[in-house]
């Protein structure tokens, strides 16, 4: 059965303190891995798609990487406005798009 697990569930950082969020997946035939940002009371906002191991994508202070078993969302020198829940999702050949439960990121000024 395809699975997506995100860790940690919650992460509190000081402004400027870099860190990484993890998304581990077990799927049969990865078609794509997606990262989303979700603000409270809003729908998820699409950030990146990664297709194959070794691929990297960047957007401002965010950088997403992909291996055969997991993806990392690195956040460099975060600011309070980066506070949000970050969701990971995978599309596989055997199932619909599956979402992880997310990491709640809080950046203190």
């Amino acid at each position: 059965e395809d699975q997506v697990t995100q860790s940690p569930e919650a992460l509190r950082l000081q402004e400027g303190e870099s860190s990484s969020l993890n998304c581990s997946y077990t799927v049969s035939g990865l078609r794509g891995l997606f990262w989303y940002r979700q603000d409270p009371g809003k729908g998820p906002e699409f950030l990146f798609t990664l297709y194959s191991a070794g691929e990297e994508k960047e957007k401002e202070r965010l950088k997403a990487t992909l291996t055969k078993k997991e993806s990392f969302l690195h956040i460099t020198a975060p600011k309070p406005e980066d506070s949000a829940t970050y969701l990971c999702a995978v599309s596989s050949s055997a199932s619909k798009i599956i979402f992880g439960s997310g990491t709640r990121l809080s950046i203190r000024p």
Partner: protein, 115 residues
């Protein structure tokens, strides 16, 4: 550019009452449309998806139904709400259906509370 609208933003309904949530997409033709439910601390659960007018696939047997009367309109309904139907309902669209190069694009959701 494409935009997706969901309404209402919040809704409080008594148990046993009917439900109708509406979603429309602008700026694209023949979108694939989806209804998801998000419970606190849990991942998004796919409820229904549609690849065309009148074509509905149900993922979870439940108290809800979906309809697509027009190309860019998707409706989530219930005849009688249960307490367990409370949650955050999200509509989404995509170009391809469950393909790696076709991410979902979400509306801002409806917070439903069944009392």
């Amino acid at each position: 550019s494409q935009t997706i609208h969901q309404w209402p933003a919040t809704l409080v309904q008594p148990v046993g009452s009917p439900l109708s949530l509406e979603c429309t997409v602008e700026g694209t033709s023949n979108p694939n449309l989806y209804w998801y439910r998000q419970a606190a601390g849990r991942g998004l659960q796919l409820l229904f998806y549609s690849v065309g007018i009148g074509q509905i696939s149900s993922e979870v047997p439940q108290n809800l139904s979906a309809s697509r009367p027009q190309d860019r309109q998707f409706i989530l309904s219930s005849k009688k709400l249960l307490l367990s139907d409370s949650g955050f309902y999200l509509c989404a669209w995509s170009v391809g259906v469950f393909t790696g190069n076709s991410p979902l694009h979400f509306g801002n959701g409806t917070r439903l509370t069944v009392t």
